[in-house]
Symmetry: C2
Subunit: 157 residues, 2 copies
């Protein structure tokens, strides 16, 4: 399946836990030269062709891994379905368990981390038509790190 | 929470499995005089205020229960997160396990059933702005029941 093609199966059954028939693994994102993420894979479960349509992805972070610290105009709706982890949204930290729901509002800094000894797998819903993420500047990082718990949480570079 | 109010928590943690803090149980739908459904509850996990916005619900069907057989213009994206069951979509029957994904396309007849000895709980994603369901006429039912497996599956009246 190419990166932008419509994909709307009626029934997407699992062939093994957290793996679906006919659904390929993608790299999380192209290397951005900053090593801003660690051990993340991405799968596309549903893509509508319309720009206002929705897209459902499954992300999986290996034990000790993390997604990029970033923000953007489009929002995320995130539901962990595997393992355990934590996340930063805006200026708050949350523990994540299966079937919790996390809403990442527009332009909120966010980063997801798996537990050190556990995968974190989550569904992530977005609109098909969405903007590219913005990475934090040095001054953004400084501001975020004024909170010692957030400074401790963040993985960047 | 009223039936149409915006509801966008950043973190919706569970207070017990499949129950979220501050999320009320609703009746599945008003009695329609036909007993078209059995033992179904409904919870609203996320509602955007915009008409083009998305709404995420959690439905739970008790053992042996079922939703209404219906169709409508808006589509559903369904992900079982509790138990086991089965469904009709269009003219096909599917077994449902946790983390499968079911897409109910526009104007497809559909009905969900829990296993006889198990709950079936599922996330269901819709647009905020959506049409009311259409119930099957006698001739719709006759047509659907031409397939003996579907005739066996359907619960109506």
């Amino acid at each position: 399946m190419s990166d932008n093609q419509e994909f709307r199966p009626i029934n997407l059954a699992q062939c093994e836990p957290f793996r679906w028939q006919g659904v390929d693994e993608f790299i999380y994102k192209a290397e951005d030269g900053t090593a801003s993420f660690k051990d993340v894979s991405r799968r596309k479960l549903f893509i509508e062709s319309a720009e206002s349509g929705i897209e459902l992805r499954y992300f999986e972070i290996g034990p000790g891994g993390h997604t990029t610290l970033e923000k953007h105009d489009h929002m995320h709706l995130v539901i962990p379905i595997r393992g355990r982890g934590s996340c930063l949204v805006e200026n708050r930290l949350f523990e994540l368990s299966i079937n919790d729901m996390i809403h990442v509002p527009s332009w909120s800094w966010h980063q997801f981390r798996a537990a050190e000894d556990e995968f974190l797998g989550f569904l992530c819903l977005v609109k098909v038509d969405r903007d590219r993420p913005t990475l934090p500047s040095e001054s953004d990082l400084e501001r975020l790190k004024q909170d010692p718990q957030i400074a401790e949480f963040i993985r960047h570079r």
